[in-house]
């Protein structure tokens, strides 16, 4: 039942709510059959963009084309039911007066499919999401995960060319999220449709997407594969939003080495007698530019003191299944959160720290520190202010 995915072309899309621009001239091209995730904090415009794509909201300016059809342009607004798409909603949006089966039948009835054929397709789709045995239940008789699987079946059953996902996992618990993430990833790709998925969760975005678009203030600030975003963030905002354990101002201690885009640079960490470490330089920077270093969790390693670049004190330790996550405070003041080590280091212990250059990203400093705590909601970056305060209370001693 594979479908041909639709190409989506968005050009100069703007949407105003009163004086506020929720979308500010956004451009985006989505290849047919690809799975695209739009990542951004609340207020970044991702929901508005999805609703404009669906036709629920009207664009104020710009155009949207789905396949060969211009669905939104100045003076043109194709209503949702004529855009040949389907959508999975954050709150499931199952009709409470219909059984699971009737919810899934709905799109087929709108397509005027013969009754027996529609029922067979609905049944098959419910079976594919593992809910054939619950077809006769009403939404309130299903768990949250089951309801969202019904919603997924409803979106897939019509065989449309474009699937929209509005943070479908955000109301589910951790176990259910993983199961449903897998179901969405496989079933959406199997369907052949183009998928546009929005979320504020970076790990969800990276695990689902062929390509990720990062949105901020109604604009697309970076577009690339998950690997590109992680290794070569275009800005401190993207670096922070894609997960860091700490950030700090640094000074040059050498000249860039290597080919542009994959350069390395020696930098000096803040604090008296600051250590010099090697970091990655995702994009060239001018000589006089103030620099910031963003450290990924995976870049921080606890090592024996002889191999250490700097010394730190264990402020906290948490069991994390395969090992332990430590919060390490160092002179600067610096605080590295969620530093993984298979061995448990006790609170107050002095440990050596080594930073992997690939996970230390040097970018031009941008605006005030942590511009917008809201932007970092649900992300480790939100901890930095708090942990910096913790680090500043370090007793004199083990730090270098």
């Amino acid at each position: 039942m594979a479908t041909r995915g639709e190409r989506v072309a968005i050009s100069g899309a703007s949407k105003y709510f009163g004086p506020k621009a929720a979308l500010a001239g956004l451009d985006l091209q989505v290849e047919p059959g690809s799975f695209v995730v739009l990542l951004g904090p609340s207020g970044s415009g991702k929901t508005t963009l999805l609703r404009c794509l669906a036709g629920i909201e009207r664009l104020s300016e710009g155009t949207i084309a789905i396949g060969d059809t211009v669905v939104a342009a100045p003076g043109t607004h194709l209503p949702p039911e004529r855009r040949r798409l389907a959508m999975v909603f954050q709150d499931y949006a199952l009709w409470p007066h219909m059984t699971a089966e009737r919810n899934v039948l709905f799109p087929l009835r709108q397509m005027k499919l013969p009754g027996h054929e529609a029922r067979e397709r609905a049944h098959n789709m419910l079976a594919r999401v593992g809910l054939a045995h619950l077809a006769g239940r009403y939404p309130n008789e299903l768990s949250g995960g089951e309801q969202q699987r019904v919603a997924l079946a409803r979106s897939l059953v019509g065989g449309v060319g474009l699937l929209l996902f509005d943070e479908p996992l955000s109301n589910l618990d951790a176990d259910m999220r993983e199961q449903l993430r897998l179901a969405i990833s496989t079933l959406a790709r199997d369907s052949g449709a183009t998928s546009v998925y929005i979320t504020h969760d970076q790990s969800e975005a990276f695990s689902l997407a062929d390509r990720v678009g990062v949105l901020r203030d109604g604009r697309l600030v970076q577009w690339g594969t998950p690997e590109e975003l992680y290794r070569q963030p275009a800005s401190p905002f993207v670096a922070r939003f894609t997960g860091i354990c700490t950030e700090m101002p640094v000074t040059r201690a050498g000249s860039p080495v290597g080919a542009p885009g994959a350069q390395a640079l020696e930098v000096r960490l803040p604090g008296a007698g600051g250590a010099v470490v090697t970091a990655s330089l995702p994009r060239p920077v001018g000589d006089g530019t103030a620099l910031h270093m963003f450290v990924r969790h995976s870049a921080v390693h606890i090592v024996a003191p002889p191999d250490a670049q700097l010394m730190a004190q264990v402020r906290d330790v948490a069991f994390a299944g395969r090992g332990y996550e430590h919060a390490l405070a160092a002179d600067g003041p610096l605080l590295f959160t969620r530093t993984f080590c298979e061995q448990r280091w006790p609170r107050g212990a002095s440990v050596g720290v080594r930073l992997n250059p690939e996970g230390c990203l040097v970018l031009p400093a941008e605006g005030p520190h942590l511009g917008g705590g809201q932007a970092l909601a649900g992300n480790d970056g939100g901890l930095v202010d708090l942990t910096a305060a913790m680090a500043s209370q370090l007793p004199p001693g083990p730090a270098s």
């Binding site: 009207r58 949702p80 855009r83 909603f89 954050q90 949006a93 007066h97 009403y138 019509g158």
Partner: protein
């Protein structure tokens, strides 16, 4: 810029029509009626371009006495209802009193009983040669008490107790036990607990006071029946008299209306002043249901009986009065005998007795009023539900605009508007020469009466429906559109079923309220086409209350039949999925 302008038009365009309808139904006629008090010449009601002299007339004699009476009666009723409504609320929400599952439903039932019907039931019961005298239980003392300001206060208090009950019971229900537990674990006894909890309930108490005060001030039912029979003038009846005079004194009626509206603003302003800038939020996700006090056996029996007596007085006594009175010949007349008769029912159905012109006019055809009221109420309820649903959706919009807020104010103002003022405004506005010049000849027609009904029912219904409508997430409709349904189809298949039970219940409430509506009916009914309330009132005022009682029983029966048919039909015909959603709780 053009795109932005287009957005604004699209966003607000749908609202214009709804607000225009409301403005036409309420704001324009009532506004004109009130403005003519100050600018009588504008409407050919006097020679002055600006005057306050109409207030001088309202501040003297009979009219002033009416205003004074209304004020003190409303104040006493507020206090009584705090005790009665608050007591029943506390007992049914916070104790193990018997019948606590029944009392809330009874309160809702009581809310549907028009005050004039209750007052007349008491009249039938206690008047000389009334129902009690048929059983040799007549007491001159009881008669004098009921046909006095005490009786007026009693009936008003019984009739408006549900408003106090509903505001206080929701607050008491939401008030978890944590406040009381916090006092107790920190060393406070029962008195300290009471002193802590009562201020937490302050907004509900004030809301209750405001609501009961406004309802009593604006009530016309008791004022035109029991109070009128007791020679006890009240403000709302003063408006009616001013218009019914020859020549009609619209400026004086308008002045009384303004004073009535201004007095209603007093408790509302007090409520706003006390609660401004303070948070009384008591409901949260962590609120645990309060534990119920376990009453002792004797206390439980006594208090259950007390609540039972309240409902007996509020519902039982008037019902008995009307039912038993309908079988008495010449009820309340010195000619009245002990004989029981069915002649009153024959009169209801045949209309053979020719009484005075006004009675014949009010009751000709005589089962006609029941059918007419049923038809008008059904039309009103249907239009109200459709428009009310649209208004409720606009008011509970995710992004309310300026028009929404203005509309909400208009709705709130309309709810607070007494029916008698609205009716007077209609008579005034639709009787003006300019209205006729504009080709709007609706005066003394049934469409105007229905418009009056709509003007009172749409605002209330819209507010009632806001709660259930706000609970329906917008994504249900969006999901329907995204999955291929056109706008109307989405409303029909994915929205209406979700709110269907609420719509049916609201339809029935509107039907019942309209069926028994008195002040607007009395002012606007076309000659020869009396509604149920007008016909019953005419029979009573023309010394044939026994026929009025019989018509009350017939009309009650008709009302129950319609309610039964609709509820039964919904139960039998609506798909299972529709029936399991919503319901009265979501409205309440």
């Amino acid at each position: 810029m053009r795109a932005k302008a287009a957005d604004v038009v699209r966003h607000y365009g749908g609202q214009w029509l709804v607000w225009a309808i409301l403005a036409f139904l309420v704001a324009v006629p009532v506004g004109a009626f009130l403005v003519q008090v100050f600018v009588p010449r504008l409407f050919d009601q006097g020679t002055s371009w600006f005057t306050l002299s109409n207030f001088t007339q309202a501040f003297q004699g009979h009219v002033l006495l009416g205003l004074f009476n209304s004020l003190w009666v409303s104040t006493v009723v507020c206090v009584l209802d705090l005790v009665i409504g608050g007591g029943v609320a506390w007992l049914s929400m916070r104790t193990n009193i018997g019948g606590r599952r029944i009392w809330p439903g009874m309160m809702w039932g009581l809310l549907l009983v028009p005050t004039w019907l209750m007052a007349q039931g008491w009249q039938y019961l206690t008047e000389p040669n009334g129902v009690l005298s048929q059983f040799s239980l007549y007491s001159p003392f009881v008669h004098h008490v009921i046909f006095s300001p005490v009786g007026v206060v009693l009936v008003d208090a019984l009739a408006t107790a549900p408003y106090a009950y509903l505001t206080l019971s929701s607050a008491l229900g939401g008030l978890g036990s944590q406040f009381e537990e916090a006092v107790r674990v920190h060393g406070g006894g029962r008195v300290a607990t009471f002193r802590v909890v009562v201020p937490v309930l302050a907004p509900a108490v004030l809301a209750s006071v405001a609501l009961v005060f406004v309802e009593t001030m604006s009530d016309y039912g008791v004022a035109s029946t029991l109070a009128y029979q007791s020679r006890f003038p009240m403000a709302t009846y003063g408006i009616y008299e001013s218009i019914n005079n020859l020549p009609a004194q619209f400026p004086v009626a308008g002045a009384i209306s303004i004073l009535l509206l201004a007095s209603a603003a007093i408790p509302l302003a007090l409520q706003s002043r006390v609660t401004r800038g303070r948070s009384y939020a008591i409901l949260s996700g962590r609120t645990r249901p309060a534990t119920r006090y376990r009453l002792g056996r004797a206390a439980r029996w006594v208090l259950t009986s007390a609540v039972g007596v309240f409902f007996l007085l509020a519902l039982g006594a008037p019902a008995l009065g009307a039912f038993a009175g309908s079988f008495v010949a010449n009820l309340g007349s010195p000619l009245g005998g002990q004989a029981l008769t069915l002649a009153n029912y024959r009169e209801v159905f045949s209309g053979s007795i020719a009484y005075s012109h006004s009675v014949a006019e009010g009751a000709s055809g005589t089962s006609g009023p029941v059918l007419l009221s049923t038809m008008l109420a059904a039309i009103t309820a249907t239009i109200t539900v459709v428009v009310g649903l649209a208004v409720a959706r606009l008011l509970s919009a995710r992004r309310p605009g300026r028009f929404t807020k203005a509309g909400d104010l208009l709705i709130l103002g309309s709810i607070a508007l007494p029916g008698i003022v609205l009716g007077a405004g209609y008579i005034f506005a639709f009787n003006l020469p300019i209205t006729s010049h504009l080709g709007v000849d609706l005066y003394e027609t049934l469409p105007l009466l229905v418009m009056g009904y709509l003007a009172t029912s749409i605002p209330t219904t819209s507010r009632i429906m806001m709660g259930p409508v706000a609970q329906v997430h917008g994504s249900l409709m969006e999901a329907a559109r995204v999955h291929g349904a056109r706008a109307l189809s989405a409303v029909r298949s994915c929205y209406v079923p979700v709110v269907s039970r609420v719509l049916v219940l609201v339809w029935l409430v509107t039907l019942t309220k309209t069926f028994w509506e008195l002040p607007i009916s009395q002012l606007l009914y076309p000659p020869g086409e009396a509604t149920v309330s007008v016909a019953i009132d005419n029979w009573d005022n023309n010394y044939h209350p026994e026929v009025g009682a019989a018509m009350t029983v017939v009309a009650l029966g008709a009302c129950f039949v319609v309610i039964g048919l609709v509820l039964g039909g919904f139960r039998l015909l609506a798909p299972r999925g529709w029936r399991r959603l919503g319901g009265w709780r979501s409205v309440a």
